[in-house]
């Protein structure tokens, strides 16, 4: 048995022994997800137990170094861990923006103190993060952001910034413990005048307001900062070079979102719907064309991940994947609505579980906006991959 095979056997046995039965059922909805954090209410004891037993082994962040709360797995081992979770039908023990987004950025840009302090809290599910990037005036054009941190020296509170401004699209801002936030710290330099700050959402002067979407209520908030005091130690990376951190992190976000159109073999929808409206030959033709694109994109997703693993992927390729994946997912839901017919139009009926088809369909429309619009993705591909002039 190779080392990896032995590792797989070990992991499999560990999951079998430690994953509670309730955690092996498919995630049904938002409240089955374990987000962790100070204010999180576990749905049941099993959810808490599963998170804690994993955290103790570093499995909540399997590929992070052991020193920072991870299990120190190699990419190949981490892949086995994910595969074995999937095989067992086990839910992720912990989901969080800390794991997906802030963590990788801290690993790359954080000080040793920051890594030990924040990464450990993230790994143990003790802290829940939200992301403060977009502002009403700066959507695609992030560097135009206006939220301003004024530098203040204070004998009592030490050196700090006083932050004023407004963020938008802050997911779960009303539930998060801390925020990682882009703040302008130099008004004279557009690109190199932004810093990447971390602060507690309980700091006086922070308020949030949920945003209602066309699909209904949402995790998004508007977040307001009114003279919020942020100590100097809570900066990640260099002063005024927060854009470097943000870009790195956005890359991760795009990779994540680009997966939205993918679902492996299940990405084809024609066969799922066969008992439905396929007496309509025109819809059948549209579904076949879609399935071709979906199955092809899922091969692309596989190839992309394989290449990422060995460093063969073009660094700007996630932009292409994000573009293609989100456009595909929008198309998928347009077709699901067509196939569902008038039933899929119902907005709050029991039969549709409160209008799930329509709300999902509307929600997908944001896929090609959030995390970088399709237009921005195409700009990036034109510039960085095709190297077209002036792009």
């Amino acid at each position: 048995m190779s080392e990896l095979e032995a590792f797989r056997a070990e992991i499999r046995a560990w999951i079998d022994a430690n994953c509670p039965e309730e955690m092996r059922r498919p995630v049904q909805g938002e409240d089955d997800i374990c987000w962790g954090g100070r204010n999180f209410v576990f749905k049941n004891a099993a959810q808490k137990a599963w998170m804690e037993v994993c955290a103790a082994k570093g499995y909540t962040v399997a590929d992070w170094p052991k020193a920072y709360g991870g299990a120190g797995m190699s990419p190949a081992e981490a892949k086995i861990w994910r595969e074995e979770l999937a095989r067992a039908g086990a839910r992720p023990p912990l989901s969080s923006f800390g794991i997906w987004m802030l963590g990788p950025a801290l690993l790359k840009f954080g000080t040793e103190e920051q890594k030990v302090h924040y990464l450990g809290q993230i790994a143990r599910g003790e802290i829940r993060w939200c992301q403060g990037y977009s502002e009403p005036g700066s959507g695609s054009d992030l560097v135009s952001l206006q939220t301003y941190g004024e530098e203040v020296s204070d004998p009592v509170r030490g050196d700090h910034w006083v932050v004023n401004g407004q963020k938008i699209w802050t997911s779960y801002a009303d539930k998060a413990d801390w925020i990682f936030c882009l703040v302008r710290t130099d008004k004279t330099n557009v690109y190199q005048g932004i810093s990447f700050l971390l602060f507690d959402m309980a700091t006086p002067g922070v308020t949030t307001k949920p945003i209602k979407l066309i699909s209904g209520s949402s995790p998004f908030c508007e977040t307001f900062f009114d003279n919020v005091v942020v100590p100097k130690a809570q900066i990640v990376g260099q002063l005024n070079r927060g854009w470097d951190v943000a870009k790195y992190l956005l890359g991760h976000e795009r990779e994540m979102i680009s997966g939205a159109g993918d679902g492996g073999q299940t990405s084809a929808i024609g066969s799922v719907l066969k008992r439905g409206g396929l007496e309509d030959p025109m819809l059948r033709a549209e579904l076949a064309q879609f399935d071709i694109d979906a199955l092809a994109f899922s091969a692309m997703g596989e190839k992309f991940l394989d290449e990422v693993k060995v460093g063969k992927a073009h660094p700007a390729q996630p932009n292409m994947m994000k573009y293609a994946g989100t456009e595909l997912n929008k198309r998928r839901h347009e077709l699901l609505m067509v196939a569902g017919g008038s039933t899929a139009l119902e907005w709050d009926s029991e039969e549709t579980r409160g209008g799930a088809p329509a709300r999902s369909w509307l929600r997908t429309k944001a896929n090609s906006i959030e995390g970088g619009t399709s237009e921005v993705m195409l700009n990036v591909v034109a510039k960085r991959i095709l190297e077209l002039p002036g792009a």
């Binding site: 030959p281 008038s342 039933t343 119902e346």
Partner: protein, 379 residues
């Protein structure tokens, strides 16, 4: 006939445009009734104003107190309804309902049309049985019973069904489900015993009803046209509903497009108005082209229908399909070009997207009509 408005039609368009923008606007009507969770999904006050404007009876014969206008004129009203997302029973009542009743006895017309024309009566039309528009199949049965009929079956997604004073029901009086013959239309009053409603709110905040008819007793006077010969009337009602929905859809698409081009001219990103970006310009210009073409074929089909042309049936399906595709593109581009704010309930562009979807399903989606185009063309 030239494919632009006559002077009379242009005058009508002008007054309807002003009326609908003033009285039928999104905030005053759609958002108001939606946010107050109105069980009808529209306002009876506005419906009364439709009557005062002379719109409710525009398709009715002069002898019945109507204006004897055609589908071009009805389309003018519907396009403005679409542009303002105005919730109203105009399409089901004054277009489809009146088209059906035009084929009915003096007694039936006398019973329902005055109320329609006065803006006091609402009509609904019950055809489909299931989630997709498949009027070729009518399974609800009306069996002869005494001097009349006993109606049993279910109809789905009857728009305004639970609010309507009468529902025009296509039922089978003989033959099997998919037969062309053997269909009869009835004007079923709301208070007939044995009617059950399960009213659902749709994505566009309109109300549709799953209606059950549980042995509803109907006397012979409720029959519209000939017993077993209702398919011809039904086809007229379908054509009226389809071209009406297509007209409304051009308004929805045009409204979304207008809102979007305005946004392109005001929103800045990267130091430029987003409408300065050539990629946006080309997509907007392409969309303009699609919307213009959709509008043209809708008018063409209206004229053919009004003129009783043999090609009307084909061109109505072409128009419904084309309007659906163009309007769908308009709302998709609209939301995408608005970016994040386009996803918020606060902005109106998402309401256009919702209405587009519901209108597309109504009376057959683009695929249904593409199939019809293929079949009517003989392939």
């Amino acid at each position: 006939m030239p494919l632009y408005y006559t002077e009379d039609q242009a005058m009508l368009a002008e007054s309807v445009t002003g009326f609908m923008a003033d009285e039928g606007g999104i905030k005053k009507q759609l958002r108001h009734w939606r946010d107050t969770n109105c069980k009808d999904g529209f306002g009876h006050g506005l419906w009364k104003q439709f009557a005062e404007m002379g719109l409710t009876g525009m398709l009715a014969a002069e002898a019945d107190g109507g204006l004897a206008m055609g589908h071009v004129e009805a389309g003018i009203v519907l396009a403005e309804i679409g542009r303002n997302l105005t919730p109203s029973p105009f399409l089901t009542t004054s277009v489809m309902g009146v088209t059906a009743l035009s084929e009915a006895s003096d007694e039936l017309r006398g019973r329902w049309l005055p109320g329609v024309i006065a803006g006091e009566t609402v009509l609904a039309v019950a055809i489909d049985e299931g989630a997709k528009h498949r009027p070729e199949k009518i399974a609800a049965r009306a069996e002869r019973a005494g001097n009349g009929f006993r109606l049993t079956g279910a109809k789905d997604f009857v728009i305004h069904g639970a609010s309507a004073d009468a529902i025009i029901v296509a039922a089978r009086t003989s033959g099997s489900d998919s037969d062309a013959d053997g269909v009869t239309l009835f004007a079923v009053p709301k208070d007939a015993a044995g009617i059950g409603h399960n009213a659902v709110r749709l994505v566009d905040s309109s109300m549709a009803s799953h209606v059950r008819f549980d042995g509803v007793e109907l006397d012979g006077s409720t029959v519209i046209g000939e017993v077993d010969g209702g398919r011809a009337v039904l086809n007229k009602v379908l054509a009226a509903g389809r071209i009406g929905a297509a007209a409304e859809q051009t308004g929805v698409g045009g409204g979304a497009f207008a809102m979007t081009t305005t946004y392109l001219k005001t929103r800045k990103q990267f130091g430029k108005l987003i409408g300065e970006f050539q990629a946006m310009q080309h997509r907007a210009a392409h969309l303009y082209s699609e919307l213009e073409i959709a509008e043209a074929v809708v008018i063409k089909a209206q004229q053919l229908l009004d003129g009783g042309s043999e090609r009307a049936e084909l061109m109505v399906s072409v128009a419904k399909a084309k309007a659906a595709r163009a309007c769908n593109l308009a709302v998709r581009e609209g939301v995408q070009m608005h970016g994040g704010v386009g996803m918020t309930d606060e902005y109106d562009i998402g309401l256009y997207m919702k209405r587009e979807r519901a209108l597309t399903e109504f009376m057959g989606d683009a695929n249904y009509h593409a199939e019809r185009v293929a079949q009517l063309s003989g392939y």
